[in-house]
């Protein structure tokens, strides 16, 4: 009986992780696609220097930060994968979402200041400690850059 209960708990956790995680992922991607289209006019580049024509723009630091956590299903799936090696695709989609969400937040911040462009964009990531190596892990993805605001915009 004990083995059965253990198995039941495990399967329940797994199913919860799968269904909630899957639902959240679908919804998130839908929103990412939509907002990426809306914010296409705030150009993001990794260029270090502004174009000569933008030399008179004001510049400001903008950033976008996201903290994400994996679900139980992804942990188990990735754990099994790490025994045999290969792409950890369950984490890939999660981090892809985090990266794009961080960029979107940075763009939103730039847009709020009237910027037309963000240059020198960089990414950073760090593990949110406290559960390092144990249980479900979470991490932060931070995107930051220099927003270029046209002189016409009052500030």
């Amino acid at each position: 009986m004990e083995a059965l209960i253990q198995l039941g708990v495990f399967v329940t956790l797994l199913l919860c992780g799968y269904f909630f995680g899957r639902h959240a992922e679908r919804k998130h991607y839908k929103s990412i696609f939509q907002r990426e289209d809306e914010l296409r006019h705030v150009v993001v580049t990794a260029e270090r220097m502004p174009e000569p024509e933008l030399m008179r723009h004001r510049f400001n630091l903008v950033s976008g930060s996201v903290v994400i956590s994996v679900d139980y299903f992804k942990v188990v799936s990735a754990g099994l994968r790490s025994l045999v090696g290969g792409r950890l695709s369950s984490y890939e989609s999660l981090l892809d979402r985090a990266r794009r969400e961080a960029l979107l937040r940075m763009q939103a911040e730039a847009e709020a200041q009237g910027a037309e462009m963000v240059i020198n964009t960089k990414f950073e990531t760090s593990r949110v400690s406290g559960n390092a190596g144990q249980g479900l892990g979470s991490m932060e993805v931070l995107a930051y850059g220099t927003a270029l605001i046209p002189p016409s915009v009052a500030g």
Binding site: A3, V43, L54, V75, G79, S89, E92, S93
Partner: protein
């Protein structure tokens, strides 16, 4: 060069794959569990083959240290009736051993094997055999039996575990399984994975466990036939279990023991068909009957008798 006026739309599916996560998961789970189950099966078979070769003396060396503290702790607050009942259990055990000694086919391979019988004050009806030839019968079980045959069946079953060296096999199997799990997961915080693999391996180990119980039942039946010539009354305790907890049926693969129904029919099959007249049951030892009576009065007075259904027998 004209500057970028709008972010380009990048193609999807480069940084992430569109493959359904369940598909990957199913493949991984099937592959890894199959490998682990295979490894556990091989190890368990090796254990079944090698563990009985561990000298019984080594088991004794392990258990002798605990024996003193055990008997010391057990002796406090025991009534004389309980002492007498324990002696009766020991006597029944000794006569079962004598029967076993008389039958060459029933003799254990290891000549060093000795059996020690104990009575545990514990309300859950249960009996178990552990390392060093120690066999424990609980008072909860004594309450449930009404003939010597039923008690002898339970004790013969536990004796068969010892004869076939099951405790040391179970110990080796468990230790090897834990070691294997630790090796595969690296002993780090891979909780999810050790969860999956633990389940897969545990279910495999349990199937070996059920096989051991069947073997023990088979040998207990042989011993009972040698002693009484029939199996009348041997099923009394199993019938009680069936009435209390029902047959496990579909959930059997997750149990440590085979289904009660299966065990009952194994007894039924081996019971020699009588020539009309039912063989007589051997009554319980007078000391056990006295203990039962004293216990019944005692529990009525204190109202301590727990609901029988709340304590499922384990055996």
């Amino acid at each position: 060069m004209a500057r970028l006026r709008s972010n380009p739309k990048l193609p999807e599916g480069i940084n992430r794959s569109d493959e359904h996560p369940l598909k990957e998961f199913a493949w991984l789970l099937a592959g890894v569990s199959l490998a682990l189950v295979g490894a556990v099966v091989i190890l368990s078979l090796l254990v079944g083959w090698l563990a009985p070769a561990i000298p019984f003396r080594w088991e004794l060396a392990l258990t002798d240290r605990y024996e003193q503290s055990l008997s010391g702790a057990a002796n406090e607050s025991r009534t004389s009736q309980l002492e007498a009942a324990e002696q009766a259990v020991k006597d029944l055990g000794a006569s079962l051993v004598a029967t076993q000694q008389a039958e060459a086919a029933l003799l254990p391979e290891d000549q060093d094997i000795r059996y020690h019988f104990h009575l545990l004050s514990e309300s859950t009806p249960n009996a178990f055999a552990t390392l060093g030839g120690h066999i424990f019968v609980t008072t909860g079980l004594l309450r449930q039996v009404h003939s010597e045959n039923a008690l002898a069946m339970v004790m013969a079953h536990e004796m068969a575990h010892i004869t076939q060296r099951h405790p040391v096999q179970a110990l080796s199997r468990g230790a090897l399984f834990q070691l294997l799990l630790l090796m595969v997961t690296g002993g780090q915080g891979m909780h999810g994975v050790s969860g999956v693999l633990g389940q897969a391996g545990l279910l495999t180990v349990l199937s070996f466990n059920r096989e051991m119980e069947r073997d023990a039942d088979r040998e207990a039946i042989d011993l009972l036939l040698a002693r009484y010539g029939h199996l009348q009354g041997a099923d009394e305790f199993f019938q009680k279990m069936l009435a209390l907890q029902g047959d496990t049926g579909w959930a059997q693969w997750a149990q440590t023991h085979p289904g009660v129904g299966e065990r009952l029919s194994a007894i039924e099959r081996r019971n020699p068909v009588g020539t009309g007249e039912k063989p007589q049951l051997t009554p319980l030892d007078a000391r056990l009957v006295r203990w039962q009576e004293a216990d019944a009065i005692d529990s009525e007075a204190t109202g301590h008798r727990e609901n029988a259904a709340s304590q499922l027998p384990l055996l």
